[in-house]
Amino acid sequence: MDENQTNRIKQILLKIGHLVGLFIAMAIICLPGLWIVLSSLRPTVEIMAKPPVWIPESLSFDAYIAMFSGVGQGGIPVLDYFRNSIIISVTSTVIALAIGLAGGYAFARYRFRGKTAIFLGFMLTRTVPGIALSLPLFFVYAKLGIIDTHFGLIIAYVALNVPFTVWLIDGFFRQVPRDLAEAAQIDGCTRWQAFWQVEFPLARSGIASAGIFAFLISWNEFALASQLTRSTNSKTLPVGLLDYTAEFTIDWRGMCALAVVMIIPALTLTFIVQKHLVSGLTSGAVKG
């Protein structure tokens, strides 16, 4: 067989290997999600069966119907939780983005005393596990009387997300050449106009991804929320999942159904914002 033929076969085999590898990786990533969706649609007996039942025998939306049926009929105040989750996640994301935008821009563009130390300090706060904060936060919040309020969770999440958004947005502003803002100023912009007309549009993809991350962190956060919320006033969806645990039983099917309800908005948001995540928007600005 000549060399070209061997190389061709080698390439084909390599390609097949790649695809199989990718399939396995994707399966590992996606299977739990798929399993949650499946489990929400099948009877509890089947979920708990040993050995596992791979192909469901019957599917029903009973769990979803029950979820929205109100207290007493297996329902939970899912709409309240949903509303709380939305209010808390969106507000904290918007605030964290606004602060992240200002902070990230400052870190990317200005020189000031203690810049590295402050930046490092920001990052260090992220190394503290959330659960470790819950007890001290609980005491402080109890004293301030902001337990079981939207406000309490929002400021906790803002604090959690700001270092992250600052760090991410800083990176994106660094990629926008300084010359552009200067050119805009010469073209007649104020510093503020130069930012909004030129630098902001170019960093938009980074800001969008920071937004998604901040939203998902707030949306899925459980450790702090479970300590700092009490009632339908402020309980978020992840905490709501606990409603399916009773003293001796856990309603796995209901829990899975609520999990699916939780996933849908997050997935939708990511999907919408995704198209803004086009990188390489700055190409062509300066030489190259």
């Binding site: 050449p177 010359d179 552009l180 200067e182 050119a183 805009a184 100023q185 010469i186 073209d187 007649g188 912009c189 104020t190 510093r191 106009q193 007309q197 030129v198 549009p201 170019l202 928007l281 700055t282 190409s283 062509g284 600005a285 300066v286 030489k287």
Partner: protein, 365 residues
Amino acid sequence: MATVSLKNLVKKYGSLEVVHAINLDVADREFVALVGPSGCGKSTTLRMIAGLEPISGGHIHIGDREVNNLPPRQRNISMVFQSYALYPHMTVAENMGFSLKIAGKSQDQIASAVADAAKTLGLEELLERRPSQLSGGQRQRVAMGRAIVRHPDVFLFDEPLSNLDAKLRMQMRTEIKKLHAKVQSTVIYVTHDQVEAMTLADRIVIMRDGHIEQVGPPEEVFRRPATRFVAGFIGSPTMNLHNAVVSDGRLVFGNGDTLPLPGQFRDRVTAGQKVIFGLRPDDLYPTGHGIHSGEAAEVHSVEVPVSLTEPLGNETLVFAEFAGQDWISRMLNPKTLRSGERISLSFDLSQSHLFDAGTEKSLRE
């Protein structure tokens, strides 16, 4: 259109002073090039004129307005950046019309101004493209287009051609010259390339370490460099510059070789004075292969060995050894020379320069 005047302009970064009280007057419609090696303060000076860099002392006037503390947008200037700095999220037309849009001009006004500028620069076909779809030369032209649409008082160019390849650079150089002839505005042009400065400018400002070394028309800075630094910086290949001591009406070099003291300096030096002798390669040539420099030529010939030749086609650069140093000479109507070959080298002393070894200033009047 306007004049630009810098008075005792100073720039400090903390305690480090990078521009030392420079003075410069640029006339209306004049093309002035700031030239010097990197770190000489030329770009900083330009950025101070633009208002992108706050000044630490002195005054800047554009026209009869003092602009010391005005932001860039109130100075009515345009600037072409080395990196072009085109807005990547806008089309060519939007890039060029951006300043007018910010100024609140109507769509029609913007469109006609952009169309005018595009016509001047041959950009009509490219108006709907984005910067990423353009070549280097086209981007450069769009950057110039963006500068001319608003008819500023002063154009500032910050090394606009450094990112282009040699051929394109020459082409754009010509275009900038044509553009200046057409729009007739005041231009301040920063470059580290002395050829660009020589070919484009009405006057050249040579800077070094935050000081202005000399200001003058290209011909003058070339013919009559005020300092050793200017002599070495302007001209290609560079001027031969070698240390010597004046003794008995002769210049004595390090190894004892001598040249007659050029006539024009006879009354300007004293015996024992340490000097730097300068002679352009054009005024140093293998005997019989030089440029005729008239009857006044004060030519002195020496027999020297050739160390290296660089043939350029119509001429050859001959490196020859004299006084223990390599001297570059220019041979017109070249003939083949081998290294080591001994030739007669003619020094046209009437064209020579002498600088004081201490102050490095020219010893001419």
